[in-house]
């Protein structure tokens, strides 16, 4: 999946996460995460975002996320939605969000 524009999904309300996916020059995922529970779950949230993008075949993107205590399934869903929007793709494949 090619990231061609900025895609955003989610909110900054409690138990949610807002994920912004933008194009990036070159390979790799450049991820900035801000979270209320960084100490406890920062690594896990980052893993869910990276795994979700990898499953979608996104290998170049600038991603920023502001987390307000979202569960993994929410993190994955918001990441997917943001990536589809950033790819301007509507070929959704609604697989069940995998358990991480």
């Amino acid at each position: 999946m090619n990231i061609i524009t900025t895609g955003v999904a989610g909110t900054m309300e409690s138990s949610d996460i807002i994920v912004t996916v933008e194009p990036k020059a070159g390979e790799g995922i450049d991820l900035t995460l801000e979270s209320d529970v960084m100490q406890q779950f920062g690594k896990q949230i980052e893993k869910v975002i990276r795994d979700t993008l990898a499953e979608l075949g996104v290998n170049s993107a600038c991603v920023s996320a502001v987390d307000k205590g979202a569960l993994d399934c929410t993190v994955a869903a918001r990441t997917m939605a943001a990536a589809y929007r950033a790819a301007e793709s509507t070929d959704y494949v609604f697989n069940e969000v995998k358990k991480k």
Binding site: T6, M12, E13, E22, E34, V66, K68
Partner: protein
């Protein structure tokens, strides 16, 4: 606590009054420009929080004390950010008091500069770095001028010629906000044409990183003079700490300001702040006391003879055609 959120595009009549009153109760002042406003109310319809989008700047974010710490500000900012994205505005900014910096940081904003009781924040960690990377670089001893050039006069030309003769590379930042009589595109074109003979000059768009009087909101600073000082301190700190080092600028040139009190105060702040960061400020006496506002006045009256005496031929040609 439960609250209802409603969104209003534009504002008028009772809603505007409601907003103005609510802001007043939070020690803030409504100073116009709200394109899109979020209202947060309880079940009884009592207003408990607001926030507005003005161009790409989030403004007037206020929450009633009873709701603070309940995620109300997050709900408001969230709505404003989503709306801005829908409108295609991806780079967002805000100005706030230092005590609110932490809260906005937790909402995905990053600090660009802090000074004089105000903090300037952007919703991207690398926005400023991307801007700095995109600028053409020079070499040797490098100087800078920041100017609006509304329009480009013989005074600007003289300032740039004099400054360019004293450095190896002269960076000229043309203020890119479109709040002047002449559009950015026209102003930039006039500077390009009027400085074509200066070989060691590099022209830049100021982007969102030079804060002018027109964008800086003063609504959260009570005292007007203090607000002006906060504006210039913030702008100069950002320039000195981030922009100048990225380009290797060690001198900043400015024309003397005999007319405008605000600009003169800005020049004084420049002399106070920039040397702290190792940047020399060089004031160049203004040529024949020419000012762009004088040109605009003459244009307004249709007095083309006066205009002709104040601007280079390249400017005259373009503005009389318009």
């Amino acid at each position: 606590m439960n609250f209802m959120i409603s969104e209003v595009a534009g504002l008028s009549g009772p809603q505007l009054q409601k907003l103005t009153e609510f802001l007043k109760s939070s020690d803030l002042r409504y100073e116009g420009g709200a394109e899109y406003t979020v209202f947060l109310a309880n079940d009884e319809g009592e207003l408990l929080g607001t926030g507005s989008l003005c161009g790409s700047v989030l403004k007037y974010i206020a929450v009633d004390e009873s709701l603070q710490g309940e995620g109300a500000a997050a709900a408001i900012v969230s709505k404003l950010v989503s709306r801005a994205y829908l409108l295609g505005r991806k780079k967002l900014f805000l100005f706030t008091k230092p005590q609110n910096e932490y809260m906005f940081r937790s909402l995905g904003f990053f600090t660009l500069a802090e000074s004089g009781g105000a903090v300037y924040m952007e919703n991207s960690r690398h926005g400023l770095d991307d801007y700095l990377d995109s600028l053409e670089k020079g070499g040797g001893v490098q100087g800078a001028i920041v100017a609006n050039c509304n329009p480009f006069t013989l005074g600007h030309q003289y300032l740039m010629e004099t400054a360019a003769a004293r450095v190896d590379t002269l960076h000229v930042f043309v203020v890119s906000e479109d709040r002047s009589d002449f559009s950015f595109q026209t102003r930039f074109e006039l500077v390009e044409k009027g400085t074509a003979h200066i070989k060691n000059i590099i022209l830049h768009k100021s982007g969102d990183y030079m804060i002018s009087h027109s964008t800086f909101p003063t609504y959260f600073i009570k005292d007007k003079l203090k607000a002006e000082k906060a504006n210039s301190d913030l702008d100069l700190t950002l320039f000195a700490k981030r922009i100048a080092p990225a380009l290797g600028i060690t001198k900043r040139f400015v024309g003397t300001e005999p007319f405008c009190r605000v600009t003169n105060a800005y020049n004084e702040s420049m002399k106070r702040i920039l040397p702290e960061y190792g940047i020399e400020v060089i004031e160049i006496p203004r040529k024949d006391a020419i000012s762009a506002s004088e040109v605009r006045r003459a244009l307004g009256k249709g007095d083309y003879e006066t205009v002709k005496k104040l601007v280079p031929a390249t400017t005259y040609e373009v503005i009389t055609k318009q």
